[in-house]
């Protein structure tokens, strides 16, 4: 009886978290390179009042056990790895990764962050940096007199300078791959950090033998949030929250019935 109250409460808490996550997905539906998350749930422990397969006599066993489940809990937020749409911007330092892989970003604390947001620009020194001003790794500097910048699908960055007929190569972008990208730690600003769950990064040439996606210049990977799916998920979360609160009400009314007995 009181189990039902706590079980329903676990369902309500879980649906609250589900809604929090849907809100974050919808809020980031316009964030470049954002990957939507999905909360997955799992059932809690079971109380075995009669074990399934227990003996009912020496020769026979019960046909079904009596197991009472104690509710649900959110088990993980899964990062949905589907490819977002590409938007053509024409900006030479807007880069999109077609396929798997992350750009490597040098964080102010010296750590390497990983990002799929390829909206880069140059800082005062001509270095290629993110919107927050953190440099792309390996560092690439665009000369101040560069007339045009070309990024090849394998990450080769070349510039043309006045008075020169051939392009000059100024660096190569390398991207990183993880065994389990779902295990990365999201720290905001479109940056992920490597964890023991994600494994160590495999750094390589975009479009190369490691399976890294190639780079598309002048494009940005949009968020992969499907607004329609999120609205459907929101309705489901709301309805299951309601049905769990209905259980709380039913348990409460049963208790009232018990109390009336004593009158």
């Amino acid at each position: 009886m009181f189990r039902a109250l706590y079980t329903a409460a676990s369902g309500m808490t879980a649906q609250q978290m589900n809604l929090d996550n849907i809100a974050n997905n919808l809020a980031n539906s316009g964030t470049t390179g954002f990957q939507q998350r999905q909360v997955n749930f799992t059932d809690l422990l079971y109380q075995n009042q009669i074990m399934p397969g227990a003996a009912s006599t020496q020769q026979t066993t019960v046909t079904s056990g009596l197991q009472v489940g104690l509710g649900t809990r959110p088990s993980e937020t899964e990062i949905i790895q589907t490819q977002g749409d590409f938007a053509t911007t024409g900006n030479p330092l807007d880069l999109a990764i077609q396929g798997t892989g992350f750009f490597q970003i040098l964080m102010p604390n010296g750590q390497i962050g990983y990002s799929r947001d390829g909206s880069f620009s140059t800082n005062a020194e001509g270095q290629v940096v993110t919107a927050e001003g953190n440099p792309l790794q390996p560092a690439i500097t665009i000369p101040a007199d560069a007339l045009s910048v070309t990024v090849g699908s394998d990450g080769t960055v070349s510039v043309t300078q006045p008075g020169q007929t051939a392009a000059t190569q100024v660096g190569t972008i390398q991207t990183a791959l993880f065994v389990n990208p779902g295990g990365l730690n999201a720290v905001g600003n479109n940056i992920y950090l490597a964890t023991t769950a994600s494994g160590q990064p495999v750094v390589g040439t975009p479009g190369g033998s490691e399976g890294l996606g190639s780079i598309q210049q002048g494009m940005l990977a949009q968020s992969n949030v499907s607004v329609v799916n999120q609205f459907v998920a929101m309705i489901l979360a709301q309805r299951s929250y309601e049905s769990n609160s209905r259980v709380v009400k039913a348990a409460d009314e049963m208790l009232q019935q018990l109390n009336q007995l004593a009158q």
């Binding site: 489940g69 509710g71 649900t72 769950a197 039913a250 049963m254 018990l258």
Partner: protein
């Protein structure tokens, strides 16, 4: 005192206990691969001698006691997620998972790759291949066919082990969407297809669950009335009114 009094009492306890299972089903409407449990009730033996029972006693006895819960094995809806390691089972089978307590079975196919490259469940236990050992996946892209064959970048990396159970097999719910089966009960899957990029949603039917909930609630009420009838009308008549007649 009337045996119906105790029967009504048992019926009331049973209905309050049955709410726990209904609550667990409704709490798990969003759990991938979750299988709903249903309460089963048994009628209690009313009287051991040949004494005929009143109609009220008989009805109260029919309410019985909670004798077990059984798993609903109907197929849940398959919901596309787009993740290549989200797998759903279309059919009767289960994935086999290695845990510290031996092999367990699950239909919650939200799998991952561990840093060591092993395919694992959301709880971190390795998913077994048909060779009996864990499956190693290193690289991209991963493609999984309907029979469970896994290919990574075009090369075959292994095959998922799926198991089915004969109809009367009793599976024990362990939590984490895991089920434990009696030793030797698993048979090779014949009626099972693996669907990549999808998850099987919980097979809890919210409509049935809410109807069960309302039914349990009303049955508690009617048992309460029965108890009041036994105590207020019958017992009171017997102990207070009858002596006055003489």
């Amino acid at each position: 005192m009337s045996s119906g009094y105790y029967a009504a009492c048992a019926g009331m306890m049973t209905r309050t206990a049955s709410l726990d299972t209904i609550a667990n089903n409704l709490a798990n409407v969003s759990t991938p691969g979750f299988r709903a449990s249903h309460n089963s009730f048994s009628a209690a033996l009313a009287s051991t001698d040949d004494e005929p029972l009143s109609a009220l006693n008989q009805d109260a006895n029919e309410y019985g006691y909670l004798s077990g819960t059984r798993l609903d094995t109907t197929q849940g809806a398959l919901v596309p997620t787009g993740n290549e390691l989200d797998l759903a089972i279309d059919g009767a089978g289960y994935f086999e998972v290695q845990t510290g307590a031996g092999p367990v079975y699950t239909r919650g196919g939200n799998f991952r790759v561990s840093p060591q490259g092993q395919m694992i469940t959301a709880a971190g236990d390795p998913v077994l291949g048909d060779s009996g050992g864990p499956i190693t996946i290193v690289g991209e892209p991963v493609s999984i066919s309907a029979d469970g064959t896994i290919s990574v970048n075009g090369a075959i990396a292994g095959k998922l082990k799926t198991a089915e159970f004969p109809p009367a097999t009793q599976l024990e719910s362990l939590g984490n969407s895991y089920y434990k089966a009696p030793v030797g009960a698993a048979i090779a899957a014949t009626n099972t297809k693996v669907r990549q990029g999808q998850l099987e949603s919980s097979n809890v039917n919210p409509v049935t669950s809410v109807v069960e909930l309302i039914t349990a609630q009303h049955e508690v009420e009617s048992m309460r009335r029965t108890l009041s009838m036994f105590s207020d009308e019958m017992d009171k008549t017997a102990t207070q009114d009858l002596p006055r007649v003489s």
